[in-house]
């Protein structure tokens, strides 16, 4: 799950999660599970086609004090671990 280069203009991720086809709240759960494996300051990139996950990534980052970097041009999502 690690080391794949990001596509488009996404920030270079340390971890890439493929959650395509998984309904809410699975993508947010997978993001939470992956976070401990990401060094502080590094980026997780999530692939998700769930319409709720798109809204819930920024809400989760707010609740968990992480940095939501936004949706990338290729439709993936980037989150930076802050704590």
């Amino acid at each position: 799950m690690t080391g794949r280069p990001a596509s488009g203009d996404a920030p270079t991720p340390t971890v890439v999660l493929d959650c395509r086809g998984r309904p809410c709240p699975v993508p947010v759960i997978e993001l939470a599970r992956a976070l401990p494996g990401v060094p502080v300051g590094e980026v997780v990139q999530v692939l998700s086609d769930d319409p709720a996950a798109r809204l819930d990534f920024p809400a989760w980052c707010r609740m968990r004090s992480q940095d939501y970097l936004g949706e990338n041009p290729d439709g993936t999502f980037s989150i930076r671990r802050l704590t």
């Binding site: 809410c24 939470a32 709720a52 809204l55 819930d56 809400a59 989760w60 609740m63």
Partner: protein
């Protein structure tokens, strides 16, 4: 009706509305448009109902029409106002948290629309709303209070700005009519009887005298030319009596339900881990509150609560049947999964609220344990 906490969807008939409905089936069956005795009697009853409803919402009786549902009242309100203002333009301004029936009517009209966003508490900004009004704006729409999170909207302030701009304002007041005073300044007002304790099948459309409005349907002489077809007189009579009863007890119910909702808001935030209680804590409906539980599938939580004897609704979309989550929660930027809306009513007791608070933490805990997300 123990455990029923979905008043914002539909209420059981209030005793007054129920009695009126039974009496009206006997006495109110004739066509009020006819000229013989039974028809005159029906017409008298219908006009009495119109006067009663007009009195509660602060309208003139001839401004009030009855529609077959709140949804159709909103459709007719939006489409008729656009038809009436076609010479001015076709642009619409609306909040991002309107009920889906208002958004559907705007989409159906195929006109340009400017949605005005809300803050994290679900409240629209009056200045931002005013700034969206243009020279060619034909209609503005603002819900009186969010049906999903309960936040009251600055209707009177927005109405004043619309009046300055010469733009009519349609207010969807489905969640406040019969519970709170109707704000002044509306050009069109819509509501729904089964949300104030009347029967289903009755919507309210009031259009202020002087507001340009043209029927989007083939019009007849019924309901001031605004709603074609014979009205459902027995349900309308029941709705009118139900509204008078609801308005008469609204202040007392507000005093009783508001602290129960405060208790739900405070205790749920305290006893359930990783929960977000959403909506404005102060400027809100007296009877409604909403929360979202992190990592929980909203539909599973609704089913678990049903199993524990509680009927609630959810704005989540953790299922194949509804792919898009609540546009209201999305507009507020709050968590959309694990969402539950509770709406209380005249039959809701303190003991029921306490029982809800006693079972909720365990249900959420069980769902999280089953999903393997404890401690995330």
């Amino acid at each position: 009706m123990s455990g029923y906490l979905d008043a914002a969807a539909a209420l059981p008939l209030s005793p007054a509305a129920r009695n009126a409905l039974l009496a009206a089936v006997e006495d109110g069956w004739a066509d009020p448009a006819t000229l013989y005795g039974q028809g005159r009697r029906a017409r008298l009853l219908l006009e009495g109902a119109r006067e009663a409803v007009a009195g509660v919402v602060g309208a003139r009786p001839d401004e009030v029409s009855f529609a077959p549902s709140g949804t159709q009242a909103a459709h007719l309100g939006v489409l008729g106002a656009l038809a009436g203002r076609a010479v001015t333009g076709s642009h619409v301004v609306h909040s991002t948290i309107e009920h889906s029936c208002v958004l559907a009517a705007v989409a159906h009209a195929g006109v340009e629309a400017t949605p005005v966003g809300v803050d994290r508490l679900g409240r629209v900004d009056e200045a931002a709303f005013a700034a969206a009004l243009r020279r060619d704006t034909a209609l503005a729409c603002l819900i009186s209070a969010s049906h999903e999170v309960g936040t009251l909207q600055p209707v009177e302030a927005v109405a004043a700005r619309c009046a300055e701009a010469g733009v009519p304002l349609l207010v969807d007041a489905a969640q406040t009519v019969g519970r709170m005073p109707v704000p002044s300044g509306w050009s069109a007002l819509t509501a729904s009887a089964h949300k104030w304790g009347g029967p289903p099948g009755v919507g309210l459309l009031a259009v202020r005298t002087g507001t340009r409005w043209r029927s989007p349907l083939p019009a007849d002489e019924r309901e001031g030319g605004r709603v074609p077809g014979a009205p459902g007189l027995p349900q309308i009579l029941s709705a009118a009596v139900g509204l008078q009863a609801a308005a008469a007890e609204a202040e007392a119910e507000d005093r009783r339900l508001r602290p129960l909702v405060d208790r739900l808001r405070e205790r749920i935030a305290a006893v359930v881990a990783d929960v977000e209680v959403v909506g404005d804590p102060g400027r809100r409906l007296p009877h409604l509150m909403t929360f979202s539980c992190l990592y929980v599938d909203g539909e599973s939580l609704v089913r678990a609560l049903d199993g524990a004897g509680f009927a609630v609704s959810s704005g989540s979309s953790c299922s194949a049947s509804t792919l898009e989550p609540s546009h209201v929660l999305a507009a507020m930027g709050v968590l959309t999964h694990g969402n539950v809306r509770l709406s209380l009513h005249r039959g809701t007791t303190e003991a029921e609220v306490e029982r809800f608070l006693s079972v909720l933490p365990r249900l959420v805990e069980d769902l999280r344990r089953d999903a393997g997300v404890v401690g995330l």
